[in-house]
Amino acid sequence: MSEDGARARRAADLLRFLRTIQKPGFPIDELDEGANLVAAGLVDSLAVLQIAMYLEDTYGINFVVRGIDPGELMSVAGILDLIEREAG
C-alpha cells in the first residue's frame, strides 16, 4: 500500500475512533485535518488520554520513553504524523 493510502486508512480509523469519544453536536466530518480538536470543541483536553490509549493499543506506541505531548494529539494531522514517526 502506498504511503498516501496508508495515511488515508489510518485517518479513517482515527475518525471512527474520535466519533466514539467526541462531545455531542460537533460535526467531525467537516473538520480540517490540521484543526485543533480541543479548540474546535470536538473533544475536551482530557480526552487526550483516550487518544493516547488508542495509539498504544492500535499502533503499539510507547509513551514511557517519549512522554505524552498533548500538542501532538490535538489535531488529526498531528496524530497521523505521530503514528508515522513512532509506528513506522
Partner: protein, 466 residues
C-alpha cells in the same frame, strides 16, 4: 428590526469587536508598517531583554528572612544571587539544547533531576548556620525565587525532551522564564512549545492576537469592578470605597473563613449563601488577574487560551477544573498526570485513577508546599504542616471528585446532545458543580489558623450535623 434585537446585535458586536474583520484588517495594516521591527524573532528578543531586567529588579525586591544578619548589604546579596539564577537558566537551556547528550538517568527523569536540584539547594541552607555568611544569604535569596522559575524551567526541559529546543537561541526561552506579562509560580502561557505554537507569524495574526488581548484586558476591568462591588455589597467590607455611594447598604454576609474559625456566626441559609458567594468571589478574582496576564501575553503576539473561561457554567467537576485555572490544570496534567499515565500500564480505570491522584492530589499538594518558599527556606516544617494539613483533605476530595466526574464523562461521550437533557437538567448539573467546589473549598480556603477539625465541623453543620 425592532429595538430589542437591534440592541442585542449591537451588544454582540461590541462584545466581539476583536473579530470584526474590517477592524482586524486596519489594525494589521498598521502593524505591517512596522515590518521587521515586530517580527516574531525580534519580539522574543525584546521580551527576553525585558525579562532579564525584570529578574534583577525582582531579586532586589525579595525580602530577607527572619534571623538574617541585617548589617549585610542587600545590594551585594542581590548581586550574588543574580548569577545563581542566570546559571540555572543557562544550565536548563543547555540541557534542553543537547538533551540527547545528557546522562541516561537525567534523560529518563529530567523533571526529577530539576526538582532534586531545588531540594539540594534547600538542604544546603538547612545544613549551614544562619545569619553570618553573605554567600548563604545570596543562596537563600536565590532559593526564595526558585519556585517561581522551577516549573518554567521544567517546560524548557520538556521542550528538550521532545526535541523541540534544538537550534533555538537563548532569546527563544529567556522571555518565558521570567515573563514580563507576570504570573505566579504557575506559568501562564506554559513554555516554549505552546508559546511557539500560539505565536502570531503574520501581521494579521498579530492583529487578531492583540485585539483579543485588548478584549481580555477590558474583561479584567469588568471583573475587577465586580469584585469591588461584591467586596462591599456582599461582604460588607467597611474599608471599601463603595461604602459612600451605597449609603451603608450591604448584605453583610460573613466570609467562609470567619464562619469556620467561629469569628462570626450565621443561620444555615446564610452559611450556604456564604459558601456559594465565596466560590463566585474567588472565581471572579482569579479571572480578573488571569485576564491581565493573558491579555498582556496576547498583546505580545501570543494567541493563547484564557486562564479562566466561564467555569461557573461548567456542568461537570472535571469541566470546572479545566476552565477555572487552566494553566494550573495544564501544569498538573503535563508534569504529573501524563507521566503517571504513560508509566502505569494497568487497567484503564486504575490507570486513570492513579494519574488523577498523581496530579490533583500529590502534584497539587507538592506545588503549594514548594510555593511556600519563606517557610521552606527557613525550615519551618511545623508552620508548613499547620497551614497545609487541611489542604491534604481538600486535594483528596478534589482528586476523588475529578475521577468520578471523568468516569461519568467518558460514559457520556458519543451521546447525542438531546440525551443530556434540557435546561432544567443543565441547571441542576451546574448547581451540583457549585456545591461540590463550594464544599471542598472549606478545606482549601486560606484561613490562617483554622484547623482541620474546625473546617470539618463547619462542613458538617451545613448539612445539619454537628
Amino acid at each position: 428590526m425592532t429595538a430589542l434585537p437591534a440592541l442585542r446585535e449591537a451588544l454582540r458586536r461590541m462584545r466581539n469587536f476583536h473579530e470584526d474583520e474590517s477592524l482586524v484588517a486596519r489594525w494589521a495594516a498598521c502593524l505591517a508598517r512596522l515590518g521587521p521591527w515586530i517580527s516574531a524573532g525580534r519580539r522574543r528578543l525584546l521580551l527576553s531583554l525585558a525579562s532579564l531586567g525584570l529578574l534583577v529588579v525582582s531579586l532586589a525586591g525579595t525580602h530577607t528572612l527572619p534571623g538574617e544578619n541585617p548589617a549585610s548589604s542587600p545590594a551585594m546579596r542581590t548581586t550574588l544571587a543574580i548569577p545563581f539564577a542566570l546559571a540555572l537558566f543557562a544550565l536548563c537551556y543547555l540541557a534542553a539544547l543537547r538533551f540527547d547528550r545528557l546522562p541516561a538517568v537525567v534523560r529518563r527523569r529530567p523533571q526529577v533531576t530539576l526538582h532534586l536540584l531545588f531540594w539540594v539547594v534547600l538542604a544546603v541552607l538547612w545544613a549551614t548556620p544562619t545569619a553570618e555568611s553573605l554567600w548563604r544569604q545570596a543562596i537563600a535569596q536565590f532559593a526564595l525565587v526558585l519556585p517561581f522559575v522551577l516549573w518554567r524551567c521544567g517546560y524548557l526541559l520538556k521542550s528538550g525532551q521532545r526535541g523541540r529546543a534544538k537550534g533555538s537561541a537563548w532569546s527563544d526561552h529567556a522571555f518565558y522564564l521570567w515573563p514580563v506579562w507576570g504570573g505566579s509560580e504557575t506559568p501562564y502561557g506554559k513554555g516554549f512549545d505552546y508559546l511557539v505554537r500560539s505565536e502570531a507569524q503574520s501581521a494579521e495574526a498579530f492583529a487578531r492576537a492583540q485585539l483579543a488581548g485588548l478584549k481580555l484586558l477590558g474583561l479584567a476591568v469588568v471583573w475587577k469592578a465586580a469584585v469591588a462591588l461584591m467586596r462591599y455589597l456582599v461582604w460588607g467590607d467597611p474599608d471599601s470605597p463603595l461604602a459612600g455611594p451605597f449609603d451603608g447598604y450591604t448584605l453583610g454576609i460573613p466570609r467562609v473563613a470567619t464562619l469556620i474559625s467561629g469569628a462570626s456566626a450565621a443561620p444555615l441559609p446564610v452559611a450556604w449563601l456564604s459558601v456559594y458567594c465565596d466560590l463566585v468571589w474567588n472565581t471572579l478574582k482569579l479571572a480578573a488577574v488571569g485576564h491581565v496576564y493573558i491579555g498582556v501575553l496576547r498583546l505580545c503576539g501570543f494567541a493563547v487560551f484564557r486562564n479562566t473561561y466561564k467555569p461557573l457554567l461548567s456542568e461537570s467537576i472535571v469541566e470546572f477544573w479545566n476552565r477555572y485555572y487552566y494553566y494550573f490544570k495544564e501544569l498538573m496534567v503535563e508534569f504529573f498526570f501524563f507521566p503517571t499515565f504513560a508509566r502505569c500500564r494497568v487497567r484503564p480505570w486504575l490507570r486513570t485513577f492513579l494519574a488523577i491522584f498523581a496530579a490533583a492530589f500529590a502534584g497539587n499538594l507538592y506545588y503549594h508546599v514548594i510555593a511556600e518558599q519563606p517557610r521552606l527556606v527557613a525550615g519551618d516544617f511545623a508552620g508548613l504542616w499547620g497551614t497545609y494539613h487541611p489542604r491534604v483533605f481538600y486535594c483528596f476530595l478534589l482528586a476523588a471528585g475529578i475521577f468520578v466526574s471523568m468516569q461519568r464523562e467518558q460514559k457520556r461521550r458519543g451521546q447525542s446532545a438531546a440525551a443530556r437533557g434540557g435546561m432544567a437538567r443543565r441547571v441542576v448539573r451546574i448547581a451540583g458543580v457549585w456545591t461540590f467546589y463550594g464544599i471542598i473549598h472549606i478545606w482549601g480556603v486560606a484561613g490562617g489558623a483554622s484547623t482541620f477539625g474546625q473546617r470539618t465541623r463547619f462542613a458538617l453543620s451545613l448539612v445539619g450535623l454537628g
